[in-house]
Amino acid sequence: MTKLVTLFVPCFVDQLTPQVAMDMAAVLQRVGYDLHYPEEQTCCGQPAFNAGFWGEARQVAERFVRVFRSAEMVVCPSGSCTALVRHSYPELLAKTAMQDDALDLGKRVFEFSEFLVDVAGVTDVGACFPRSVTYHDSCHLLRELHIKEQPRKLLRNVRGLNFIEMNASEECCGFGGVFSVKFPEISGAMGDVKADNIVASGAEYITACDPSCLMQIDGILRRREAPIRTIHLSSILANTEGSTVS
């Protein structure tokens, strides 16, 4: 019997890094899931929530709950967006008609690596990626969802992959959403520190579970013309023997 999962593809993944979600879908199918993608979805509301515009965020969050509440299990390729639904919706939607649905939905929304390891019980997805890779612990993934070992387990089971821990993997990359353009000097300095640690690891690739962190890291590494490339966890796991690694 195949099981059904619903894809939650955050707004910026939909628009800027669609391949990340395509790769997530491919991996989920490979490990035996049927997929459903509700086209009505847009955004979870995080940009407004973090900017303090909770009124605006609430309307978008309520819409999100309406779109996803009938789903049995929801999987998302971003720790930050998953954390918002699980962690912040109960506060944002408290004392609204949606509060119970939101609380309930929070228990059924999973970040991709968490879903594979903790729900599907899979640590080897049959991937092959013969490169050296280091991993960045994204903040909300780590500190709100407490996901640290799951992506590492998945990476260690990828054929040919040489996993390298970098120094200070838990330190913020400096992205922080609108923070990155409101305080570019601070965000850039934080990104510089991250990039230094990534380069020092000597890995060929830097991976993470959050495309937003990777966008910041990628932007800084490319500005420096550093030879190291960014890749989302889902794209590593989607890679199989025979497919080419660029």
Binding site: V9, C11, D14, Q15, L16, T17, P18, Q19, M22, A25, E39, E40, Q41, T42, C43, G45, P47, A48, F49, N50, A51, G52, F53, W54, G55, E56, Q59, V60, C139, H140, R143, E144, E170, E171, C172, G174, F175, G176, G177, V178, F179, S180, V181, K182, F183, P184, E185, I186, S187, G188, A189, M190, G191, V193, M215, Q216, G219, I220, R222, R223
Partner: protein, 468 residues
């Protein structure tokens, strides 16, 4: 952009550009971090200790009224005097008048952030008193005429060479060499003279114990004990939120404060002081005064959502953990309390209008919340401050309009898809430099490549292929 925000940006930019400054701070904080990890590991269950500290502080804050009166009663019984200061001016005036009335000329101080908060030194100096900071770090920044850089480590931003140069200039007769030991000895010589000539000693308090009316002091250099026992008058200047119910609470608070702040088992000197010299005692001060400062704290206490900010025990752990602090340092904040706790607290104590930008200057990484030994969810408070600023109509008009447009876009998936496609075309055509808000992004970073299709387009195509 308001002046306060622009000035913050300017200071942050200057510090970010100062690579040697960033190196010093990183080295200092890395050293502390290693010590703190070792300190925490000594607890059988660090999380349980944090939880206990949270409970102790939360209970105390929620019964502040009762415990403060109990504290005052117990101080009075032993002949001490408690003065309730509503604001900085009342507190400074009380201390200055007391010093005048008792013919004080010279004052020694042990480290107190509350004294920094009310700018006590400048008030006392303007009235002609000689004021000596006696904590080594505080003494150094006082000689440099700077505010403390860090609530626990005031001179964190200075190297040994910086301090040697300063001492050569300010206390040349005491400097016999420039090793760490010789520099400490130089300060010690200068400060010894101060201790034995001062008529008044001022200290802060780490905790106020309600059931005994005693103040608890945690220091590392012994200067706290000298300040509070040699001069004939001891004045404690502290905030009303420092209260705890019982002496036994210190059994967990003291070691947790030391572990979280510096990684020590306990600070070198943990002292309980209860009042002036009694008839049975041969030394100690003749007078004992406690100035209890409000200065915005009771207003924060009335805010049931954010009052747990008053639980803070000023250990400095969140500063060390903060990637913003690590890059811009303490002085860029231009507030008494720096780092995450300062960015959460200052808008509440001194007004959102002038200080809300501090709550926005965070990536919300949450490391502050995860290290706080009394479990204040500092990142959550930053969010709440932002929400309050929006609700009070204190955000720029352009931002309000932008957020309304954002909502309008996100409330319909077709609108979202069309606007997303258009935005990518604009960026592809004109590049990042022409497109706000991508201009600040491009100062430090390349823009991501704009994909040709969105996920929803790719998914539809994928679906069609699978059906075939």
């Amino acid at each position: 952009m308001s002046d306060a925000v622009q000035q913050f940006h300017d200071r942050a930019q200057a510090k970010v550009d100062d690579v040697s400054h960033r190196k010093k701070i990183r080295w200092a904080i890395d050293t502390y971090e290693k010590a703190v990890l070792r300190g925490r590991a000594r607890f059988a269950d660090w999380e349980a200790a944090r939880q206990r500290c949270y409970e102790i502080r939360w209970e105390a804050i929620n019964h502040l009224d009762r415990y403060l009166e109990q504290f005052e009663e117990n101080v009075s019984k032993r002949g001490g005097k408690v003065f309730w200061a509503a604001d900085a001016e009342q507190a400074c005036t009380y201390v200055a008048k007391l010093a005048e009335a008792r013919g004080v000329k010279s004052i020694v101080k042990s480290k107190s952030m509350v004294c920094e908060e009310i700018h006590l030194n400048s008030v006392l100096e303007s009235k002609g008193f000689k004021v000596w900071e006696t904590d080594l770090g505080e003494y150094i920044v006082q000689l440099r005429k700077e505010p403390p850089y860090h609530i626990v480590t005031p001179a964190m931003h200075l190297s040994r060479a910086d301090i040697a140069e300063l001492f050569r200039k300010e206390i040349p007769e005491d400097v016999k060499g420039e090793t760490h030991e010789e520099l400490v000895a130089a300060a010690r010589r200068a400060l010894r003279r101060a201790f034995f000539s001062a008529e008044m000693g001022i200290s802060g308090a780490n905790f106020l114990v309600a059931e005994t009316g005693m103040i608890a002091l945690s220091t590392n250099e012994g200067n706290g004990r000298l300040c509070t026992s040699i001069p004939r008058i001891h004045v404690v200047v502290t905030g009303i939120e420092k209260i705890i119910a019982r002496t036994q609470d210190l059994a967990v608070l003291w070691p947790v404060l030391a572990a979280a702040g510096t990684g020590q088992n306990l600070t070198a000197y943990s002292t309980l002081i209860g009042g002036p010299r009694s008839n049975r005692e041969i030394d100690g001060p003749e007078e004992f005064h406690v100035v209890l400062l409000d200065n915005g704290r009771s207003k924060l206490l009335a805010d049931t959502e954010q009052r747990d900010l008053l639980q803070c025990i000023r250990c400095g752990a969140c500063l060390n953990a903060c990637p913003v602090y690590r890059n811009i340092g303490g002085h860029a904040y231009a507030t008494t309390y720096q780092g995450p706790i300062g960015s959460a607290l200052t808008p509440n104590l001194r007004g959102l209008a002038e200080f809300q930008h501090l709550s926005y200057a965070s990536s919300l990484c949450g490391n502050c919340s995860s290290v706080c030994p009394v479990k204040i969810d500092i990142a959550e408070h930053l969010l709440q401050n932002r929400r309050n600023a929006v609700n009070q109509g204190q955000r720029p008009r352009a931002e309000e309009i932008g957020m309304r447009l954002w909502r309008w876009t996100m409330m319909d998936e077709r609108r979202f898809a069309i606007i997303g496609t258009m935005a990518k075309i604009v960026v592809r055509t004109f590049g990042a430099l022409a497109t706000y808000p991508l201009k600040p992004w491009s100062r430090k970073r390349e823009l991501p490549e704009m994909p040709k299709a969105s996920f929803r387009q790719m998914w539809r195509k994928h679906g069609r292929q699978q059906q075939r």
